[in-house]
């Protein structure tokens, strides 16, 4: 019974990791850009929500709803003013710029909020749980998982049912031809990063309400997110969700065997998948 519980908790934790990863997957799928500051942007959004909650006395969900358009604008500007300049065949400049951004963000947060760990207060939701037979599942983990599925569905809909999605796919396939058809890659990329930042805000909401975070929390989240994306297969949104679940289950199972092995087990699961299926479970893109 304890194992069923462990695996269920792992699946729900996987929902959180999938939320970390979906924004990354979106941006990578469209512009082949790997954002090393992704984890720090999640932590930044968590601080933004925290500030809105504590200063304005809002609930965390309303605060996240206000933070989302702010993050969209930041993502849009970041892509437009900085990242678009370094996109190209050479992968080094975007990697180094986002790496610099990561260090910059971490230390700016440290300067602004100190190194103390914080948590977004979520009232009764923090401890609420639903009994499911002999097992009880937390309401927050369930909501996280449901959000991960909803975000995946929403992105899927955006990609395949809207004109913006068509522009995304066209630019992803061939930016030059897409621009001949009246699509402006620079602005498409900026919108994509903006949307990724909305996903980042949702991820930040659950990161901040479920556990403590501090300015240095970002890089570890980035690694989990990457592992989920690679396990799932580059460019596949449902694959990313599956990848998140695999990391989550590996971590809770590892922690059940020995609490010190939690993180290690997740990494090892990633390496094993890489060994067996180098291109991930559901590969779409050839990169």
């Amino acid at each position: 019974m304890i194992w069923i519980d462990t695996i269920l908790q792992g699946i729900l934790l996987g929902g959180l990791y999938a939320l970390f990863a979906l924004g990354l997957s979106l941006v990578f799928g469209i512009m082949r850009l790997v954002n090393l500051a992704h984890g720090d942007l999640i932590v930044f959004a968590a601080y933004l929500i925290l500030v809105l909650v504590t200063l304005l006395g809002l609930g965390p969900f309303l605060a996240a709803a206000i933070a989302a358009p702010i993050m969209f604008a930041l993502g849009f500007a970041l892509q437009r003013l900085v990242l678009n300049r370094v996109l190209g065949t050479d992968i080094l400049p975007p990697l180094l710029v986002t790496f610099g951004l990561s260090v910059l963000l971490q230390n700016a947060l440290q300067e602004g909020f100190s190194a103390d760990s914080r948590r977004i207060p979520a009232g009764w939701l923090e401890t609420a749980s639903v009994p499911l037979g002999p097992i009880s599942l937390g309401v927050m983990p369930l909501m996280t998982f449901a959000s991960a599925i909803l975000v995946t569905l929403a992105l899927q809909w955006l990609f395949y049912r809207t004109s913006l999605g068509r522009a995304f796919r066209a630019t992803s396939d061939d930016p030059v031809t897409a621009s001949l058809m009246g699509v402006k890659p620079a602005s498409v990329f900026a919108k994509a990063t903006g949307i990724a930042m909305i996903v980042v805000t949702i991820a930040a909401l659950y990161l901040g309400t479920r556990a403590n975070f501090d300015p240095t929390t970002g890089p570890a989240r980035l690694i989990y997110a990457f592992e989920a994306v690679i396990i799932g297969g580059l460019g596949s949104l449902w694959g990313t969700l599956a990848g998140g679940i695999i990391i989550g289950v590996a971590q809770t199972v590892g922690a059940q065997i020995n609490p010190e092995w939690q993180i290690l087990a997740g990494h090892i699961a990633f390496l094993v998948v890489l060994l067996i299926r180098p291109r991930g479970l559901f590969p779409r893109a050839f990169d």
Binding site: V34, L36, V82, R85, V86, I91, L92, P93, P94, L95, L96, V97, F99, G100, L101, S102, V103, L104, Q106, N107, A108, Q110, E111, P219, L222, I223, F226, E227, I230, L234, E260, I263, L264, H267, I268, F270, L271, L274, L275, P278, D287
Partner: protein
């Protein structure tokens, strides 16, 4: 005969002057402990070890196109093997440096096997994950202190080769003598690294590597085996990085998983040094490490601001001058201190 009319030259006037200046600097550097203060020796040790790490990262990323953010795996494992060797098997720490290099090399083989399955940016994350796995595994190694770390045992510190001799000729205490020993080793390592990379780049294989740096497809079309070059570069960089790691913590005398596998200290700083100085050149990391040290000294009292400035400068360089500071200098003046370009001169 046509062949007799031309000669192939790589030397330039600037490089000859640089070689003479380097020789003079080297003589001064070797003699430095005779007249410099202990804190200067320690600063020089820091500069030289960071320079070594930067040269190897530059070899990987600048020439091999392998952007690794997992170099802390080699620093950390190298350092831990030096400590493990001294604690478990009584290996003299100076000899332990060889263990550092060899074990880093052994780690590089499976690491490359995994990471080379990933392209470009995903390679970067792959190396990072492996480094995390090594860090978390080493934290389980109870004999060297597990998660909290340990110190180099007293008898291992006292037994270091050459310390007694240095104590005698410079008439100093053992702790200062150990710093001098570490400084000389760092100097030797840095000179061997720069000299080795430079000589390598001037060989046929070095030419192949430089060709890969400039254009992978073109290089492959003339028969450069890019996969083999990548393996070679990755393994060499791991070996050197491991030795540097061992040396850094031999001088430090204390080790913990968080300090030995710190991504900020051993990878982020190194990347900034290379990028700010100028990636893909030997001169770049040298310029970069001096700028880095100057920034660190100037901004030492400002805590997190220092790293913010470093991150900001790194971004600005990448956006506005991708060739780094050295790229600006050599682009304007054409000066190359370590020329590897072959020029055909007519013999008169």
């Amino acid at each position: 005969m046509a062949a007799g009319k031309y000669t192939v030259v790589t030397r330039t006037a600037a490089s000859q002057a640089a070689a003479l200046a380097a020789l003079a600097l080297l003589v001064i550097a070797v003699a430095l402990p005779a007249f410099a203060s202990r804190s200067l020796i320690q600063d020089m040790f820091f500069i030289l070890t960071m320079l070594t790490l930067a040269q190897f990262w530059n070899l990987l990323a600048g020439y091999g196109g392998l952007v690794s953010v997992g170099q802390q795996a080699f620093v950390g494992l190298g350092a831990y093997m030096l400590f493990g060797g001294a604690i478990l098997w009584g290996v003299n720490p100076v000899a332990g440096l060889l263990l550092s290099g060899v074990f880093a090399l052994l780690l590089a083989i499976p690491m490359a096997f995994f990471a080379f399955r990933l392209q470009g940016a995903y390679f970067a994350i792959g190396t990072w994950v492996v480094a995390e796995v090594v860090r978390l595994s080493v934290a389980q190694w109870k004999a060297v202190g597990g998660g909290t770390g340990t110190s180099l045992p007293r008898d291992a510190r006292d037994a270091m080769w050459g310390v007694e001799w240095i104590e005698m000729i410079f008439d100093t205490r053992a702790s200062a003598a150990r710093d001098i020993l570490a400084y000389w080793l760092a100097l030797a390592l840095a000179v061997a690294t720069i000299g080795g990379i430079y000589l390598f780049l001037r060989t046929k294989r070095g030419l192949a590597l430089a060709a890969l740096r400039d254009n992978v497809e073109a290089a492959r079309s003339v028969g450069v085996d890019s996969a083999r070059m990548k393996w070679l570069v990755f393994l060499v960089a791991a070996f050197g990085t491991g030795i540097a790691g061992g040396l850094i913590f031999m001088q430090n005398g204390r080790i913990s998983p968080d300090s030995a596998f710190s991504i900020i200290d051993w990878t982020a700083f190194v990347i900034f040094i290379v990028v700010i100085g100028g990636i893909g050149t030997i001169e770049g990391p040298i310029v970069g490490v001096l700028v880095f040290f100057a920034l660190q000294t100037l901004l030492a009292d400002f805590g997190a601001w220092y790293l913010m400035v470093l991150g900001g400068v790194g971004i600005a360089v990448m956006l506005f001058s991708p060739g780094g500071l050295w790229g600006l200098v050599s682009g304007r003046t054409g000066i190359e201190l370590f020329p590897i370009r072959r020029r055909l001169n007519r013999r008169d």
